[in-house]
Amino acid sequence: MNTMLSAILGVLILFGVIALQGLILVYMERKVSAWMQSRLGPNRVGPWGLLQTAADIVKLLLKENIRNERSDRVIFFLAPILAFVAPFAAFVTVPFAATIGFRDLDMGAFYVFALGSSVVFAVIWAGYGSNNRYALIGAMRSAAQMISYEVPLVTAVLGVFLVAGTLSLREIVQLQSQGLWYVAVQPLGFVLFLVAATAESNRAPFDLPEAESELVAGFHTEYSGMKFAFFYLGEYAEMLVSSCVLVVLFLGGWLIPFANNANVPTWLHLLSFVSKVYLIIFLMMWFRWTFPRLRVDHLMAFGWKVLMPLALVNLLATGLIVYWLKS
């Protein structure tokens, strides 16, 4: 009973935190994009436009839910839920600070990647279920993209696991506290992971499934109201999860650089974690508002011909060095 209660409480807290993060991220995205384009961004609703995203959520909640008459009712309904739930569930194993986190899984990293790749089902469902040709093309693109990026993504982080010798995210951070952060040990792996994670979370320049200027809104063309909001939130949750994992694997998780991490209060650890995550997210936004979108075949070529060989080289080199050091 007790575990049940604490589980429900945990889910609620997690949901609240992620929804709040979603609001903040949307606001941040707007501000960053505006500043980069020498605009001001939202500044009317609330101080500095802080309440703009809240107002948008209210708008989306109040909007009518429109469903295409010939769409597949069940699939159409399930897609936005899965799109949000999958990245949401991945948070369970992320260690936010030394003592904060929901569950430590021995196979934590594996679990996160497995859930991350299941988002593609949501996209395919949405594309198939909404009976719209633009959506269908978006879904097909998404399937192709996911395969080409999942493989280099995982291959890129294998190096880290080789060095660390564990798949538990918490242990990986603890190992980093004793020596160098893995970004110094695995610089190539870091860059590859960053690129692949951007592609994985369907962010520009890899936002082919929703490519606005080509496919109107891609797989969620037919969605409106709260269902659309769930896709939106899902995208940001996905982005959050990938940056959390990136921070944990390469940037020392909650660790504070150049400080004795043993006797630092937990809230400082948490702060350090959050600021690192936001730094990565800022990077992703920076990419989005600078680069043109890749074409679908170039994206595939980039995944298989650039990222994959580099990831393999990285893996091979790491393996050899680890073997040489051990023996």
């Binding site: 500043w35 980069m36 020498s38």
Partner: protein, 199 residues
């Protein structure tokens, strides 16, 4: 192999150059003009919409300057001006416009009518906030019974409820200050009261 690496480095560098551009703009002053509060300065020749001019002094102050010569009616490419005439109250002059109606929906803001008028009776006002909810009032009556009348201005004020609309053209401001100040203030008050009532 070497070319592969060279290309990779070259392309990464080009991407970084692009990133630098957007990063620079992040910290530069922004170009946005915050519209209702800040307004761009308009040139003297700005074409807002057609406004009527009035005698500013003498016995017939407040009476339109239009003598119904029909030059503007003829020159207008979309035939959107209608003028009816009457006897001028001033015996030295012959005719005066009794009613001057401009179909604001048709007008294409070409300025030809203003250029055609030899009596400086019409000018281009600088007011561009003329949003309306209703097409029926867009037949703007600029002269009614030979007097100042501008229903479009009133109507847009009433319908959009913005009583604090500024008059941006110096020339216009002058006219209104000299002749119609009192009348104008009354109008503003009336419009404000109406918009309050409406909301």
């Amino acid at each position: 192999m070497i070319r592969y690496i060279k290309d990779l480095l070259k392309n990464s560098w080009a991407l970084l150059v692009g990133l630098a551009v957007t990063m620079r703009y992040m910290f530069r002053p922004k170009t946005t003009v915050q519209f209702p509060e800040q307004k761009k300065e308009l040139g003297d020749r700005y074409i807002g919409y057609v406004k009527m001019m009035y005698e500013t002094e003498g016995e017939h102050a407040g009476v339109t300057k239009c003598v119904a010569c029909m030059a503007c009616v003829v020159v207008c490419p979309v035939s959107c001006i209608q003028v009816t005439h009457d006897k001028h109250p001033d015996p030295t002059k012959k005719r005066i416009a009794k009613e001057f109606i401009l179909d604001y929906v048709k007008c294409e803001f070409c300025n030809l009518c203003v250029e055609a008028c030899n009596f400086d009776a019409i000018i281009m006002g600088h007011d561009y906030e003329l949003a309306l909810y209703d097409r029926s009032v867009m037949d703007m009556v600029l002269v009614k019974d030979m007097k100042y009348h501008d229903d479009l201005y009133d109507a847009s004020r009433r319908q959009t409820g913005s009583a604090n609309r500024s008059i941006t053209s110096p020339r216009e401001r002058e006219i209104i200050e000299v002749i119609n100040k009192k009348e104008h203030e009354e109008r503003i008050k009336k419009a404000a009261a109406q918009s309050e009532n409406a909301s």
